[in-house]
C-alpha cells in the first residue's frame, strides 16, 4: 500500500549534498524523513446520558511518507483530521494505534528513538493567534526556551534566539525585548517560525501557518518559508485548507476527508488530474477568476458529516455524485493512478465492482 510502494522522489542535488554533510542524517537520501503508518486517534467524551460515550474518530488509519527535502501539503476541510495529524506527527498526542518512523527509526519503541529525541528534529509552526506566543515572555525568552531546555546555557540560548530572529527578518536589537502584543500578525508568525527553528529541526510541521494572515503578509511569509527551506535544507509538512497556497508551496499533496486519506500524489497531478470525486469537488469549489465562466451550482452538497459517526464503507459516499451500493459496503483502498499518484475511490479502482471502474 504505502511505505515502500509510494516510491520517493529523489531529493535534488543541493539537498543531497547537504544531507551528505549533515551529521544527524542516518538513513541517507532515499530514506523518507518520516513514515506514518496507519495512524489512528479516537477521542472519547462523556455523553449526556449515564453511561453513554461519544467517540470522535479524528484520524482513522492514515499512512503516508515525507521524503527528505520535499514539502508535503495536506489539505482538507474542517473536521478532516489534519490538525490532529499534525499533533500526532510532532508527539503532542500519542496515537491509539500506528507507528511513526523518523529517518528509519521507530519513534516511541524500545528499539528506536524516544519521542523526546524525535522532537529535537521535528518541530511545529503553529497558526498565528493571540495564544500562540506566551504574552508574558519577551520574544527572545520565548524563542530561547527551546534551546534552554535542550541543555544550552542561558547565554548560548539567548545568542541562538537572536540569531534565529535575525534569520526570519526580525532584527534582534529591535525585537528581542519586545512582547507579542506589540507585534503585527505577520511579525508574530515570524516569531512562531523562529521558535521552531531555534531547535535546529530537520522536519517542520506547519499547521495552518499562514491561514490567519492578510493576503499580502501571507505572501511574504510564504516566501520566507521557501527561502528558509532552501537555506537550511529543511523538509516541510504544510497543512492548510487553502488550496492555492498548498499548490504554491508543495511538492506533493495529500487530501484528507473525515480522518482518512482520499488522494495523494505530486502537486501538479493532483491539481490537473484529480482522480477522487472529493478532490475534484474541492478544486472546482474555488471561485472562478473568469467572470464569463461563472459557477452556478455548488459542487459539494450538504454539510460534512461529523467524525463521530462516519458513514460506512467510503466516508464520502453521502456527498458523492458517483456513489453506488459497493461504496457503502466496502471501504476503498488507496490504489495507484499513475506513478506516485494514489486515490481511494472505487470508481478509480479496477475490479472494484463500481460501474465506472475498469474490470
Amino acid at each position: 500500500m504505502t511505505g515502500g510502494s509510494m516510491l520517493t522522489t529523489m531529493p535534488d542535488q543541493a539537498t543531497q549534498a547537504a544531507l551528505m554533510r549533515d551529521p544527524r542524517d542516518i538513513g541517507g537520501p532515499r530514506q523518507p524523513m518520516l513514515i506514518a503508518e496507519n495512524l489512528t486517534k479516537h477521542f472519547t467524551f462523556d455523553g449526556d446520558r449515564l453511561g453513554a460515550r461519544v467517540v470522535v474518530r479524528a484520524v482513522d488509519g492514515v499512512s503516508f511518507m515525507v521524503c527528505k527535502g520535499e514539502t508535503l501539503g495536506i489539505v482538507g476541510e474542517s473536521g478532516c483530521g489534519k490538525s490532529t495529524t499534525a499533533r500526532l506527527l510532532v508527539g503532542l498526542i500519542k496515537p491509539d494505534t500506528g507507528a511513526l518512523v523518523f529517518d528509519g527509526e521507530e519513534v516511541g519503541s524500545v528499539r528506536g528513538i524516544s519521542i523526546r529525541r524525535m522532537q529535537r528534529s521535528v518541530q511545529m509552526v503553529f497558526q498565528d493567534s493571540y495564544a500562540s506566543l506566551n504574552p508574558r515572555l519577551t520574544l527572545a525568552d520565548t524563542v530561547a526556551f527551546g534551546p534552554r531546555v535542550s541543555g544550552h546555557s542561558r547565554r548560548a540560548a539567548r545568542a541562538r534566539a537572536e540569531a534565529v530572529l535575525a534569520l526570519v527578518g526580525l532584527a534582534p536589537k529591535l525585537y528581542a525585548a519586545r512582547y507579542p502584543h506589540e507585534l503585527s500578525g505577520g511579525q508574530r508568525q515570524r516569531v512562531n517560525i523562529a521558535r521552531a527553528l531555534a531547535m535546529e529541526p530537520r522536519l517542520l510541521i506547519l499547521d495552518e501557518a499562514v491561514s490567519a494572515l492578510d493576503k499580502s503578509i501571507e505572501a511574504q511569509v510564504l516566501n520566507l518559508l521557501q527561502e528558509l527551506k532552501a537555506r537550511l535544507h529543511l523538509t516541510y509538512v504544510f497543512i492548510s485548507h487553502d488550496l492555492s497556497v498548498v499548490r504554491f508551496i508543495s511538492d506533493r499533496v495529500m487530501v484528507m476527508y473525515l480522518g482518512k486519506t482520499v488522494e495523494v500524489g505530486p502537486v501538479e497531478d493532483i491539481y490537473d488530474n484529480p482522480r477522487h470525486p472529493y478532490t475534484r469537488a474541492l478544486l472546482s469549489s474555488r471561485p472562478s477568476m473568469n467572470p464569463r465562466q461563472r459557477r452556478t451550482e455548488p459542487p459539494l452538497s450538504g454539510d460534512p458529516p461529523s467524525p463521530i459517526d462516519p458513514p460506512s464503507g467510503c466516508r464520502f459516499r453521502t456527498r458523492c455524485v458517483l456513489a453506488e451500493p459497493v461504496c457503502a459496503t466496502v471501504a476503498p483502498p488507496l490504489t495507484a493512478q499513475g506513478s506516485a499518484h494514489f486515490a481511494a475511490c472505487h470508481a478509480a479502482t479496477p475490479g472494484s465492482g463500481h460501474s465506472a471502474a475498469a474490470a
Partner: protein, 299 residues
C-alpha cells in the same frame, strides 16, 4: 527564487515608532496609581499597617494598664483620645496594638493558603487526569462546609487560641484558592504556546515554571487579595466568640466581645473596634476590586 526577506529599518533608520518595551505589571501599576479610590484606600491601609507595626515606638498609653477610676470614659476625655474600655485601658492604644494581631490573623492565613492552594490547583490543572481528580475531590469535600462553620468547629474543638485560629482559617481558604488556580491553569494550558513549549521536549516542571506560572499568578493573587478582607472579619469573629485571641491581649474582635455588655452604658466605645474592622475590610475590598480592574485591560 528571489530573496524576499523583509528588510526592516536597522540602525540609522527612523526610530520614531520604536518605544521602550514595557512589561505587563508596569501597565497595571500605572493604571492603579491613577485611580483615586485605590489611592485613598492605599493611604488608609498604609496608615493602619504602619501604626500597627510601629506601635511600640509611638507615644501611646500602655494598652494593658487598667484603672478603676477611668472606666468607660467617652472619646475626647483628656489623656484618652478615644476613651477607655471597661477595665479603664486606653482605647486608642488598644486599637492600635489590637491592629497587630487582627492584621496578622488576616494576612497570614491567606498567605499560607495561597502558597498551598495555588500549588495544589496549578498541579491539578496542568496534569489533569488522576492527579486532578485526587486533588480536586479532596478540595470539594472541604469546600462542602460553610467556611465560618468549619473555622469555628475546628478552632473550637482544638481549644481556641491564636495558633489554632490561624490553622483553621488557613484551612478554610485553601479549597477556594485551589479551585480558582485549577480553573485558571486549565484555561492557560489549552493555549497554543503551551503546546509549543511541550514540543520542545521540555519537562513539566520547566514548562510550569517558565510558561504557566507567569500567566496564572496574577489572577490568583487578585483572588487571594480579595480574601484578605474576609479573613480579617472572620478572624475577628473567632476572637469575638472567644476562640481566637485570649484576654488581656488587644484584638479588635476580642475588644468587641468584652465591650458588648457595656453597650447600654457606653455605646460609642463599644462599637469603635468594629469600625476599625469595617474600614480595614472595606479598604482591602476596594483595592482588590481596583486591582482586578487594572488587570482586566489587555497589555
Amino acid at each position: 527564487m528571489t530573496d524576499h526577506a523583509v528588510e526592516l529599518p536597522v540602525d540609522g533608520a527612523p526610530r520614531a515608532w520604536v518605544r521602550r518595551p514595557h512589561g505587563y505589571w508596569g501597565g497595571v501599576s500605572r493604571r492603579l496609581s491613577r485611580d483615586p479610590t485605590t489611592l485613598v484606600c492605599a493611604l488608609i491601609l498604609t496608615t493602619v499597617v504602619l501604626a500597627a507595626l510601629l506601635a511600640p515606638y509611638l507615644d501611646l498609653a500602655d494598652p494593658y494598664r487598667t484603672s478603676v477610676i477611668y472606666r468607660l470614659k467617652p472619646p475626647g476625655t483628656p489623656g484618652h483620645l478615644l476613651g477607655t474600655d471597661e477595665l479603664g485601658r486606653d482605647l486608642l492604644a488598644r486599637l492600635i496594638y489590637g491592629g497587630r494581631l487582627s492584621l496578622l490573623m488576616g494576612f497570614v492565613p491567606v498567605l499560607i493558603a495561597t502558597l498551598v492552594g495555588a500549588v495544589l490547583g496549578i498541579l491539578a490543572g496542568y496534569f489533569g487526569g488522576l492527579v486532578n481528580a485526587a486533588i480536586m475531590r479532596t478540595m470539594d469535600v472541604f469546600y462542602a462546609f460553610p467556611s465560618i462553620l468549619l473555622a469555628v468547629a475546628i478552632s473550637g474543638v482544638l481549644g481556641g487560641g491564636v495558633m489554632n485560629g490561624l490553622f483553621s482559617l488557613t484551612l478554610i481558604f485553601i479549597p477556594s484558592i485551589a479551585r480558582v488556580s485549577e480553573s485558571i491553569t486549565m484555561g492557560v494550558r489549552t493555549q497554543d504556546f503551551v503546546d509549543a513549549a511541550r514540543v520542545t521536549g521540555a519537562y513539566p516542571h520547566q514548562i510550569l515554571l517558565s510558561h504557566i506560572l507567569k500567566n496564572v499568578i496574577g489572577q490568583i493573587l487578585v483572588f487571594s487579595s480579595s480574601l484578605i478582607s474576609i479573613s480579617i472579619v472572620v478572624a475577628a469573629g473567632l476572637s469575638f466568640l472567644g476562640l481566637g485571641v485570649a484576654p488581656p491581649q488587644a484584638e479588635w474582635g476580642l475588644m468587641l466581645s468584652t465591650l458588648r455588655p457595656t453597650i447600654y452604658v457606653a455605646p460609642l466605645n463599644a462599637i469603635l473596634p468594629g469600625i476599625m474592622i469595617f474600614i480595614t475590610s472595606m479598604c482591602f475590598n476596594l483595592m482588590s476590586d481596583g486591582l482586578r480592574n487594572a488587570m482586566d485591560v489587555k497589555g
